[in-house]
Amino acid sequence: MTTTATTDTDMAHDDHGHHGPATGFKRWLFTTNHKDIGSMYLWFAFIMFLTGGSMAMVIRAELFQPGLQLIDPDFFNQMTTVHGLIMVFGAVMPAFTGLANWMIPMMIGAPDMALPRLNNWSFWILPFAFSILLMSFFLGGAPNFGWTFYAPLSTTYSNGSTAFFVFAVHIMGISSIMGAINVIVTIMNMRAPGMTYMKMPLFVWTFFITAYLLIAVMPILAGVVTMLLTDTYFGTSFFNAAGGGDPVLFQHIFWFFGHPEVYIMILPAFGIVSTTIPAFSRKKLFGYSSMVYATSSIAFLSFIVWAHHMFTTGMPLVGELFFMYCTMLIAVPTGVKVFNWMATMWRGSISFEVPMMFSIAFVILFTIGGFSGLMLAMAPVDFQYHDTYFVVAHFHYVLVTGSIFSIFAAAYYWLPKWTGYMFNETLAKTHFWCSLISVNLLFFPMHFLGLAGMPRRIPDYALQFADFNMWVSIGGFAFGLSQLIFLAVVIKCIRGGAPAPAKPWDGAEGLEWTVPSPAPYHTFATPPKID
């Protein structure tokens, strides 16, 4: 297979020599190449990650000690809101789309994404979306109603930012929908001959399912922000009881989007570690088909659990019971996944390269986030946990040590393929250990703060919460600064280093390792054959 692929690439070079990458800025603006677009997505996500991270550090600086030290409560609310929006829509989601762009065509033996111009467009509208969002800071104040933008705080009682917010979210949504259509069309139509659905890498499977989730729920987000817009500026009363509407309706619609959204941000992570753990355990993924079924079950369940975010809104008993049972049920397929990773490592031949370190940290820390998720699913106890730092701890464990750690694992795993050079392992290991220690210092004490009764989204707190908050802040600054090490690793790796062979990890499997490193601009112009 290796030889075939190389010849294909050479041929591709000859055929397409006259329209290879353009030079300068035009290359990036007009590119329809999945690798260029993938790189742009990844860089954009990283810039947004640092932007959102700086806002988190402002929050942690204010919360370092009780009392108002640095910023006023209104600006504090702007920080928490925009931090959340940027991390969800600007960092995690684009990073996954970037990985999908880079890897899916190479993993299924396709020459590019199926809809390359759409691909270009779906990336290039993103910077505009976030410019609009960030611009609001200078035009009367950024959104300050939480990333969940509950009405009527975001309508009647908002500052002037609702319109900026709504338009920014619309553009992000269009971008996500187009990206998802592209992923589905590519996977359905462009798999190499012989690659049946059940032979696809699990990475491809998880992105396939995620894309369906995106197409299902992004229009709902678009709908709810439009209702928000007309409530605020055009006199409708969808969410205003005085006009016959219902503020809780907002939450139902929002979380009907919001819960699948949570899985949009974690299913690709499952795909990543299902690729890396077998590679560094030198053993096939345990229970491939059960992994596919578990991912699909999680995706299905994600549509019928939304109101577990709303146990305190005054739901009837039967509603609370239904959503409690369905939510607890999610523990089953998620458990299956964790057990399968465990079984993959069991009696393997394990080595600890940096992608593996992040993957193992993912499995353990994500599982801790899963445990607190199970606790939150219990409606009677959720009355105590809801809207406290316990929830903040929970979703940061699944999103930071979950999604973001998996993205680091993916980045380190494929960096040699992307750049053609091995990264500096010492520096990368420093990045791992600094991140691992600081992230736990940052998020673990938040469980205690929440249990002791500290509500989330407050700029100041009672004195009994003081010492933990100080530890959390120190962890926060350390985690934020640790990410600069990652930046250094990536830049160094792009500039040079030990040349990477076509397959730098001896246990790795998949078509992407059959092409040289760095991957040529065009790969698989002629599809490889899968037996």
């Binding site: 009392g67 939480g146 299956v336 964790v338 106890v381 009355f383 707190y461």
Partner: protein
């Protein structure tokens, strides 16, 4: 020997529920039967998760130590087993059922709002709570009483913080022990959430809708909580304080409140005839402004536009007096401006309008009297 005993003692302390109960690392057990049930559920799930965690993480660490390449371990080739997959699908289902049964019981208990002895309406508004005792003619607002000097280090030096910093109010809710007290919870503006951890009660206050919750407190004492739903700028500054009293003391307190309410109504009437001097009006006005208005419109009258407009030189504060009074008394629909008519006395309303018309260089020279307020607002 001594060291080993200490070790066992520490270990024992770590795992005994009693020690966990009131530690600052864990959920409170609270003072109601429901809060105890909730605590037990919390501990049950925590222990189950801990056991599963020890097994799963144990297996992972075992592989990490013993099945590593550097030790020459050769990878096995197995990669699927339907038997094992079924096993680790079915066993968790049974564990979940074991958790769901007690959770369902507790939930049914929590949602049974029948047969209450006392009903209190709880109304949230930006950023205070209002309590009304049904059929008792007693109602009042409950506002944060921690002085600004303690929390605002931005503009001041930051005074020493008190013991109940940010968890203290000017007038606390008082309820009797051993009685089923029902709360009807709603809001005047955005969504708030009324939460007292010691009762395991957290219920959203939704504008235009009424939610129910109840509690039976077993022990007298003072219990503190906070608003739990983001409700705008001062979300962190609307605490809840509940004092639970033995029944006879509660009855005495309620009677005292009822008489005080009657006396206050009398005083309101009497104040209509009184004429206050400009100095009196400005002094009372400033005090009222700082407590009720400055959170939004700011002590310097500049507000926080565009959400909270400036009063300094504003068309309202230097314009038509009766329009100004009308806005203060009845609020402005569709904005954050509350109706202060039911929160303040006539005297305070007159004073605060006077203050707004003369402070920060507004200098209209208008002295507004209680009678003017009554006339302009049609109260």
């Amino acid at each position: 020997m001594k060291g080993r005993n200490l070790g066992w003692l520490l270990l024992g302390t770590l795992f005994s529920s009693a020690a966990w109960a009131e530690s600052k690392y864990n959920l409170t057990q609270g003072v109601t039967d429901v809060s105890h049930e909730v605590y037990d559920l919390h501990m049950l799930v925590l222990y189950i998760c801990t056991v599963i965690g020890v097994i799963v993480f144990g297996a992972i660490f075992w592989s990490m130590f013993f099945h590593r390449k550097s030790k020459g371990h050769v990878a096995a080739t197995f990669h699927e087993s339907t038997k094992v997959e079924i096993l680790w699908t079915v066993i968790p289902i049974f564990i979940l059922i074991a958790m769901a049964v007690p959770a369902t019981k507790t939930l049914i208990d929590i949602e049974n709002n029948e047969n209450s002895d006392l009903t209190i309406q709880v109304t949230g508004s930006q950023w205070k709570w209002h309590y009304r005792y049904f059929d008792k003619d007693v109602e009042f607002y409950s506002v944060l009483s921690t002085p600004k000097e303690q929390w605002d280090n931005l503009s001041g030096t930051g005074a020493e913080k008190g013991e109940n910093y940010l968890l203290e109010v000017d007038k606390q809710l008082v309820i009797p022990i051993n009685k089923k007290v029902r709360f009807l919870i709603t809001s005047d503006d955005v969504i708030h959430s009324w939460w007292v951890a010691a009762f395991a009660v957290k219920q959203d206050a939704v504008p235009g809708f009424i939610n129910e919750a109840w509690t039976i407190v077993n022990e007298p004492g003072v219990y503190r909580g906070q608003c739990a739903e983001l409700c705008g700028k001062d979300h962190g500054y609307m605490p809840i304080v509940v004092e639970a009293l033995p029944e006879d003391e509660f009855d005495a307190w309620l009677e005292e409140q009822r008489l005080a309410a009657i006396a206050a109504a009398e005083a309101e009437k009497a104040s209509l005839a009184a004429m206050m001097t400009m100095d009196e009006l400005m002094e009372l006005g400033e005090a009222t402004y700082v407590t009720y208005c400055a959170a939004c419109h700011q002590a310097n009258g500049l507000g926080l536009p565009p959400t909270f407009p400036a009063l300094k030189g504003s068309s309202v504060a230097v314009g038509d007096i009766s329009e100004h009074i009308n806005i203060v008394v009845n609020g402005m629909a569709g904005t954050g401006m509350q109706a202060f008519g039911k929160q303040l006395t006539l005297k305070e309303l007159a004073a605060v309008v006077t203050y707004e018309r003369n402070a920060w260089g507004n200098n209209t020279g208008d002295a507004v009297q209680t009678a003017d307020v009554k006339a302009a607002a049609g109260m």
